[in-house]
C-alpha cells in the first residue's frame, strides 16, 4: 500500500434530532468543514465514499441523493454499508482508493439521521428466519452476551458504570458531542432505567443525528503539508458469522477484533499497545463493550479490564486516554460513528482536538464494531512511514 494520510476532518453538531437540516444538508455541514480543515476546495476531491445504513432513516440509495451534499457530482461515488463498522470501512475504502494511486485526494463522509426513521425496523429486517424468534434488535443482541462475559472475566455493573461516566464526562469537553454530562456519577448510571438485563439506559449509546468527514490524501499531497498530516500505518478488517449463536462466547473471545488488532499491530510495529498508543478512539456501543475491547485490543490481560477503568488508566490523565471525544456512548449517528473515530484520532495527531486534545499525541488507534462482531482496526502516526 502506498503511504497515505488524513489531512482534514469535519463534524456536525450531533444531537437527538437535527430537525433544522435535511439529510443532504447535514452531510454538507461535515463535508464542507473537512474541506475547510484540509484547506482545499471541492474541485480538489477526486473521489467520494459515503457511509450510511439506509434502512435506518427510511431512504434508499443514499449514494444517489446524498452525493450532492458530499460534492460528488461528476466524480466517482460509492456507498459502503457494513453495520456499525460502516464508517471505519468507508474510511478504509477511501484509504485504499488513495493508496492505489488512482485517486490523489478522497473525501469520506458518514452520516445517520436516526430521528427521521425507525432503526429497530432496519435491525429486524436483517434475518427473517432465526433472529425474529426474539427480534431483540441491537440492544437485546448485545445484552445477550454480557452475562457470560461478566461470569468469566469478573466484570461488575460498577466497572461498566465507570466506563459510562468517563465517556459522558469526556464528552463535556467536546462541543460536537450529543450527550454531555459533566456531573454524571456511577450511582446515576446504576439507577437509570433497565433496558435489557444488565444494561441500564446510561450503559448504552444514544441514537444521534450527525455526520462526519475526513479528507484522505496521497503521499505527495500529504507531504507538502509537513506536520499537517496523520499517516495511516495499518488498517485491517475482520468479519464474522451472521448468526449470534455460532460465535463462541462472543464478548469473551472477540475473535474478529482480536485478529484484526493483531494483524494491524504487526503491520504497524506495535508490540505494547497500552504504552505505545497515546490515544485511542474505540467503537463502544455499550459500557461493557469498552471493557471487553480493552482485553481484545491487548490493553490488559484477560480479566483485568475492570482494574483498568477503576485505576483510571484509560481516563484523560491516564496512561492511555480512551475516547477523549466521549465515544459512541456519547454520540452515535451509526453511519458516521466509525468516521468519527478516525476523524477524532486524526484530529488528535494533527493537534486540532480542542478542549479534549491529548498533548503531544503521536500514535493513535481507531476501531469500528458492527453487527455481532465485525471489526476494523486502524493505526495512525504523526510519523510518515
Amino acid at each position: 500500500m502506498n503511504p497515505i494520510a488524513v489531512i482534514g476532518t469535519g463534524q456536525t453538531k450531533h444531537s437527538k434530532a437535527r430537525l433544522d437540516v435535511s439529510q443532504p444538508e447535514l452531510i454538507r455541514e461535515a463535508a464542507s468543514a473537512a474541506l475547510q480543515d484540509a484547506d482545499i476546495g471541492p474541485d480538489d476531491i477526486d473521489a467520494v465514499v459515503i457511509s450510511n445504513m439506509e434502512m435506518f432513516e427510511g431512504r434508499a440509495f443514499p449514494e444517489l441523493w446524498a452525493g450532492e451534499g458530499a460534492y460528488a457530482f461528476g466524480k466517482p461515488c460509492v456507498k459502503v454499508a457494513t453495520g456499525g463498522t460502516s464508517g471505519t470501512s468507508a474510511c478504509i475504502a477511501g484509504f485504499h482508493q488513495a493508496a492505489s494511486g488512482e485517486f490523489d485526494t478522497v473525501l469520506v463522509v458518514g452520516f445517520e439521521k436516526h430521528s427521521e426513521g425507525h432503526t429497530q425496523t432496519g435491525m429486524a429486517l436483517v434475518d427473517p428466519f432465526w433472529d425474529r424468534a426474539v427480534a431483540s434488535g441491537a440492544l437485546g443482541n448485545f445484552a445477550l452476551s454480557i452475562s457470560q462475559y461478566m461470569a468469566e472475566r469478573g466484570v461488575t455493573e460498577e466497572h461498566a458504570a465507570q466506563v459510562a461516566v468517563k465517556a459522558r464526562r469526556n464528552a463535556a469537553n467536546n462541543p460536537n458531542a450529543h450527550l454531555q454530562m459533566p456531573d454524571l456519577t456511577v450511582d446515576d448510571v446504576l439507577a437509570s432505567r433497565m433496558l435489557a438485563e444488565p444494561l441500564h439506559l446510561l450503559d448504552m449509546c444514544p441514537q444521534s443525528d450527525g455526520a462526519a468527514a475526513i479528507v484522505v490524501a496521497s503521499e505527495e499531497t500529504a507531504r507538502r503539508r509537513g506536520s499537517q498530516a496523520a499517516w495511516v500505518r495499518a488498517a485491517t478488517t475482520r468479519h464474522d458469522q451472521p448468526y449470534l449463536g455460532d460465535l463462541d462466547r462472543r464478548l469473551v473471545t472477540m475473535r474478529a477484533l482480536r485478529d484484526a488488532a493483531q494483524a494491524a499491530y504487526t503491520r504497524a510495529g506495535i508490540t505494547d499497545p497500552l504504552r505505545e498508543f497515546d490515544i485511542a478512539e474505540i467503537y463502544e456501543p455499550a459500557s461493557y463493550a469498552e471493557l471487553a475491547w480493552y482485553e481484545a485490543l491487548g490493553f490488559c490481560k484477560e480479566g483485568e479490564a475492570g482494574r483498568l477503568i477503576t485505576e483510571g488508566v484509560t481516563a484523560m490523565d491516564g496512561e492511555l486516554p480512551v475516547n477523549p471525544s466521549g465515544g459512541v456512548l456519547s454520540t452515535n449517528p451509526v453511519g458516521a460513528s466509525g468516521v468519527i473515530r478516525v476523524a477524532e484520532a486524526s484530529a488528535q495527531l494533527l493537534g486540532r482536538a480542542g478542549a479534549h486534545q491529548v498533548a503531544g499525541a503521536a500514535t493513535a488507534l481507531a476501531t469500528g464494531y458492527g453487527v455481532y462482531a465485525w471489526s476494523d482496526v486502524i493505526v495512525m502516526r504523526t510519523e510518515k512511514p
Partner: protein
C-alpha cells in the same frame, strides 16, 4: 417543515433447502434438526446450508435437543427473557425465549423445548425453553 409518513413492507422469503427441512421437521414432527458438517464435524443449530465453522456445504441433518443448557441470557422489561441455548448434540447455540424461571438465569441451567400446539413452519413453532422438570 417535517414530512410525516409510513411505509408497509410485505415480504416472502425462501427458507432454502436446509432451512426448509429444519422448519418442516419443527412443524410436522416437533423435532429440532442440527446440520452436521462432513468436513469438520461441527453440528450447528438451527441447521443451515453452510457450516459456520468452516464454510463447507451441509446436507447431513441430525436430531438435536430438545434438552440443552443456557449459555447466556438477557431480559427486556415487559418481555420474556431470552438466551443462547446449546442443545444436546449441538456445538453452536440457538437464540430463543426462556419461558420459566424468575429473575436471573444461572449459567448452565438445564432447559427443554416447549413446542407450540399450532405449528406453521416458523422458528416460533418452538414457543421457547423451560427449566427441565426435576432439575434443581
Amino acid at each position: 417543515m417535517i414530512l410525516e409518513g409510513s411505509i408497509r413492507l410485505p415480504f416472502s422469503y425462501a427458507a432454502g433447502v436446509v432451512g426448509s427441512r429444519f422448519l418442516v421437521a419443527l412443524r410436522d414432527e416437533q423435532v429440532i434438526l442440527g446440520g452436521r458438517c462432513s468436513d469438520c464435524g461441527t453440528v450447528s443449530c438451527p441447521a443451515r446450508s453452510m457450516c459456520p465453522e468452516c464454510g463447507t456445504h451441509v446436507d447431513d441433518l441430525v436430531e438435536v435437543g430438545p434438552g440443552g443448557t443456557v449459555e447466556a441470557w438477557t431480559e427486556m422489561p415487559g418481555k420474556p427473557a431470552f438466551g443462547l441455548i446449546r442443545l444436546d448434540g449441538a456445538d453452536t447455540a440457538l437464540i430463543h425465549h426462556l419461558l420459566s424461571g424468575e429473575g436471573k438465569w444461572q449459567p448452565n441451567t438445564r432447559v427443554t423445548a416447549r413446542f407450540a400446539p399450532e405449528r406453521v413452519g416458523d422458528i416460533n413453532d418452538i414457543e421457547g425453553f423451560e427449566e427441565e422438570r426435576g432439575a434443581s
